[in-house]
């Protein structure tokens, strides 16, 4: 205590950033496991969607080569996981923490706003990555190995997509008064983004095709195709080195959307309930 007499010169440390973040993320894992709806969204929904699309789409029945089919299934899995595990569940988590006044409490301590948003995102991203790995193993057994043309691009697809949708989740949380209303407030993003994600055929070329390539999740499926089978948007099979060149545009699109998402989150995210 003696040393603190000259108040200004004493270090008053807080926990290191990583430890802080892990402590918060650990409690987020507990909350995820204890929230049945969120858990179903995180674990069952992506798998269910993939199975549904596979059956409806008659996967593998049209003579498409096995690796391309497997890569398509995996891209679907990632897009659905990003939509529900990351975007929907995170929006719900942000709204719940705000309305429970947990965010207000965190901000009285050493937690920064960025950390408060990262903590729930951490388990969501881990669940997404685990699903991607398990999904890879599953399609390899059931269909055919989808290939590993450039694994780095697969990771960029997953993390970049998570960054965009995590930021959009924070912005969307600002428009949601209650956890229940998240079902409505997340709809516009889902409806606007999902059709152009590349899971369904959209008109190639022309204005719509160009616009589609600039939507937030289209780069994810493009990077998945490049990273797994090494196939670019024109159907050409590229070498490892060539995949980097082809990845520049989708990565740029992801980067721009991440910046826009962060700006939107800064503009609209709220930290305390409305009175």
């Amino acid at each position: 205590m003696n040393a603190t007499i000259v108040a200004g010169r004493v270090a008053r440390p807080t926990a290191p950033r990583t430890r802080r973040l892990l402590a918060l993320a650990r409690s987020e894992v507990l909350l995820l496991v204890r929230n049945r709806t969120a858990l179903v969204n995180a674990v069952l929904l992506p798998v269910g969607f993939v199975a549904l699309f596979a059956v409806l789409g008659g996967v593998g029945g049209d003579g498409t080569p096995g690796p391309a089919v497997a890569a398509g299934v995996l891209a679907t899995l990632l897009v659905v996981a990003l939509m529900f595990v990351v975007y929907y569940n995170l929006t719900t988590a942000y709204v719940a923490r705000r309305e429970d006044r947990v965010l207000q409490r965190l901000l009285t301590g050493s937690t920064t706003r960025v950390e408060a948003l990262l903590a729930p995102a951490l388990p969501a991203v881990v669940v997404t990555l685990v699903q991607l790995v398990l999904g890879y193993a599953a399609v390899s057994v059931v269909i055919e190995p989808p290939g590993t043309a450039n694994p780095l691009l697969v990771v960029v697809a997953a993390l970049g997509g998570a960054a965009v949708l995590g930021a959009l989740a924070a912005a969307t949380a600002g428009f949601s008064r209650t956890v229940e209303s998240v079902q409505l407030t997340t709809l516009p993003v889902i409806v606007l983004i999902l059709p152009f994600a590349g899971l369904f055929p959209t008109p190639e070329g022309g204005v719509i095709g160009a616009v589609a390539r600039c939507t937030p999740l289209r780069p994810v499926t493009e990077l998945m195709a490049l990273g797994l089978t090494g196939t670019d948007v024109d159907g050409q099979t590229l070498t490892f080195v060539e995949t980097f060149g082809a990845a520049v545009l989708p990565i740029a699109v992801l980067a721009v959307w991440t910046v826009l998402g962060v700006l939107a989150a800064r503009r609209w995210m709220r930290w305390a309930p409305r009175r």
């Binding site: 010169r9 807080t14 402590a23 918060l24 650990r26 409690s27 909350l31 409490r105």
Partner: protein, 316 residues
């Protein structure tokens, strides 16, 4: 060695749109003392305390906490600060102990969670989900989190609101223990008894300003003492006096007669009481329901709060 108060506020102002909640406040909290901030609802206590907690910037003036600007240099201050908001929340699906461990993970040198739970009498509730705790238990958990990091300065906004009398006394005991350990405390309350029990000094806020600051004794000393009685004649019949019938007293600052009951305000209670008693004896009067008392904190507080209403009307 430079002396610097733990909290130093100079000319602080805070605005919400066109409403100014804090209107030029000067306030010091010295190391090791407890300063209680009193005021009616809407006086600006929470708005001022949030400036000290560094949760918002002052629109004007200067706020220094532990030698730094608590908003702009938050990282330098927050490690020594324990904050108990009026209404911060918990995730209802975490248990008491899980909530404590989470908070401990954000602190550099947290006390053992078990010790703090024990201090707050929450050990038996450690594995209960926070959603199932009573209001009083949650308030104690609030306090447990605020002291988990052994703060140098503890800032509490209405810490005992909603607690039953027994829990309130338990919190007072705990706060006294913290003061003995050298912790500095700034708390807001609207329980005057709480301020009398705990505070080394009090500051009374009204309409965004600190209107009185000092020890409880100093604060009360500015208020007149009261003498009251109902005069009767020697036969026992009530006398209806007027103000003109009353004795002239050296310390008299106010006199009123209400249906026979005489109310006097005095700055020299002993002399004036003696003069009143002599005056009554000379006239053969009996003073029924005689009461003489020094000013209480409550009286001081109420007279300041009443003035506030006048101020507000003038301002409007």
């Amino acid at each position: 060695m430079t002396y610097e108060p733990i909290v130093s506020v100079r000319g602080a102002r805070r605005r919400y749109g066109r409403f100014e909640a804090v209107r030029g406040v000067d306030l010091d909290v010295r190391r090791g003392e407890l300063l209680a901030l009193l005021g009616t609802n809407g006086a600006g206590k929470t708005s001022l305390v949030e400036l000290v907690e560094g949760l918002a910037p002052a629109d004007a003036g200067q706020v220094r906490v532990l030698g730094h600007d608590p908003y702009r240099e938050r990282a330098r201050v927050v490690g020594g600060l324990g904050v108990m908001l009026q209404e911060a929340g918990f995730s209802p699906d975490l248990t008491t102990a899980e909530t404590m461990r989470m908070w401990a993970g954000t602190l550099a040198r947290p006390r053992p969670v078990e010790d703090v739970l024990d201090d707050l009498n929450l050990t038996a509730r450690a594995d209960v989900r926070v959603g199932s705790l009573s209001g009083g238990e949650r308030r104690r958990l609030d306090l447990a989190l605020a002291i988990l990091g052994s703060p140098e300065l503890l800032v509490m906004d209405e810490p005992t609101t909603g607690l039953d009398p027994e829990s309130r006394r338990a919190v007072w005991r705990l706060v006294r223990g913290l003061l003995e350990d050298g912790v500095t405390v700034l708390l807001t309350t609207h329980y005057l008894q709480e301020a009398e029990e705990l505070a080394d000094r009090i500051a009374i806020m009204r309409a965004g300003r600190v209107v009185r600051q000092g020890t409880v004794a100093e604060t009360v000393a500015a208020e007149p003492a009261r003498i009251e009685f109902v005069p009767h004649d020697g036969a026992g019949a009530r006398l209806l006096l007027t103000a003109a019938d009353l004795p002239s007293l050296p310390g008299l600052v106010g006199a009123a007669v209400d249906r026979g009951r005489v109310r006097l305000q005095s700055t020299t209670l002993q002399q004036d009481l003696e003069a009143v008693l002599n005056w009554a004896r000379e006239r053969g009067m009996r003073l029924e329901e005689l009461e003489a008392r020094s000013a209480s904190l409550e009286q001081a507080f109420l007279s300041l709060a009443e003035d506030a209403d006048v101020d507000e009307e003038v301002a409007a």
